[in-house]
């Protein structure tokens, strides 16, 4: 019987490591060591957009008539959309004209945002409102931000290659 406790612990040693590591623990390590964002890593752009969309849908379920204010929101949006759509088209062309970039992550996020945009736009046609307009504009701004980051990345890569050639 002597040392029964010690023997018991040694025999069942692995069962004492039963605490699960919190899933977010790796993200901080990754951020500190490899400079990756804690926030945007687990929560992708499309998830943010989806959350906004579902919140908006819930709000819109409570409204069923088109008011003059809603109609005005629809008209105003058409002008804003043209402005941002032009920027998106230009930046997209600039990125796709380069052949050496890794666009996988960008393409996925972008497609999710575009899909969300189409649904929101349909909503805007059916029930125009300030809220849907804001969500559509935010969607385009997020896409422009994504494109800007990709362009910056490409520019940095180009600079590195240039300095390699010079040296």
């Amino acid at each position: 019987m002597k040392n029964e406790l010690r023997n018991f612990i040694q025999y069942n040693r692995t069962s004492f490591d039963d605490k699960e590591v919190p899933p977010q623990a790796w993200a901080k390590i990754q951020q500190q060591l490899f400079g990756k964002s804690v926030f945007w890593q687990p929560i992708r752009y499309w998830q943010v957009a989806a959350t906004l969309f579902f919140g908006l849908s819930a709000f819109l379920l409570l409204q069923d008539k088109l008011s003059p204010k809603q109609q005005l929101a629809g008209k105003e949006f058409a002008q804003t959309e043209a402005f941002y759509a032009q920027q998106i088209a230009e930046k997209t062309n600039m990125i796709y004209s380069t052949n050496d970039s890794d666009l996988n992550g960008l393409t996925q996020d972008f497609q999710q945002l575009e899909a969300m945009y189409m649904v929101l736009k349909e909503e805007m046609k059916q029930r125009p409102s300030e809220q849907v307009k804001d969500a559509l504009i935010l969607n385009m701004l997020v896409r422009i931000n994504l494109l800007n980051k990709q362009l910056q990345k490409l520019d940095e890569t180009r600079q590195v290659k240039k300095s390699d050639v010079i040296s």
Binding site: L5, A25, I29, Q30
Partner: protein
């Protein structure tokens, strides 16, 4: 985070030395759970154990070039985790060694008869209910496999204090789990 990996630690360590992020993530998957539990048993707090885990892996990666393979990677990493866990306790101004630590308890252990059959859950709860100082020494000795010389070095105490602390910790644990004859 607990998926098995087909890579050997030695291979992963070599790749980490070259700055391979994926290899380091695989090492993390291999050791994170064990290290988290080591820290949790010493600190007694999950949030603190998570902080220690993160700091330890960051420190391990930054110093991996110093790892020469004299001990296993797990032992090397565990020592980092243990030291940081003890520091976390000290930062809480915890009195690691109670004032009566000089009181020497007989090293000869009494015969143990348990009230009921031991289970992992009961033993674990009894350990976690111990005061911080006792829990640290007992965990280091019974669960992490350190001897008194190593514990003395980790806690900056003498070997004899380590021994008497362990005996007192065991006596406390026994109170909860056994009747002594």
């Amino acid at each position: 985070m607990n998926q098995a990996t087909s890579h050997l630690p030695e291979e992963l360590i070599e790749r980490c030395k070259q700055g391979d992020e994926k290899a380091f993530q695989d090492l993390y998957k291999l050791y994170a759970r064990a290290m988290f539990n080591v820290s949790y048993r010493i600190t007694g707090r999950e949030e603190e154990a998570q902080d220690v885990l993160q700091e330890s892996f960051i420190s391990a990666y930054r110093n991996i070039s110093n790892y020469r393979g004299d001990s296993t990677f797990g032992s090397w990493l565990k020592r980092i985790v243990v030291n940081r866990s003890i520091n976390a306790l000290r930062a809480r101004r915890m009195e690691l060694m109670p004032e009566d630590s000089d009181f020497d308890v007989k090293e000869e252990e009494p015969q143990e008869i348990y009230r009921e059959e031991l289970t992992v859950d009961k033993v674990k709860k009894a350990i976690m209910a111990l005061p911080d100082g006792y829990r640290s020494v007992l965990s280091l000795y019974l669960l992490e496999g350190y001897d008194h010389e190593e514990i003395a070095s980790i806690l900056n105490i003498t070997e004899s204090t380590s021994k008497s602390q362990l005996n007192r910790a065991k006596a406390k644990l026994r109170e909860r789990l056994t009747t002594i004859v």
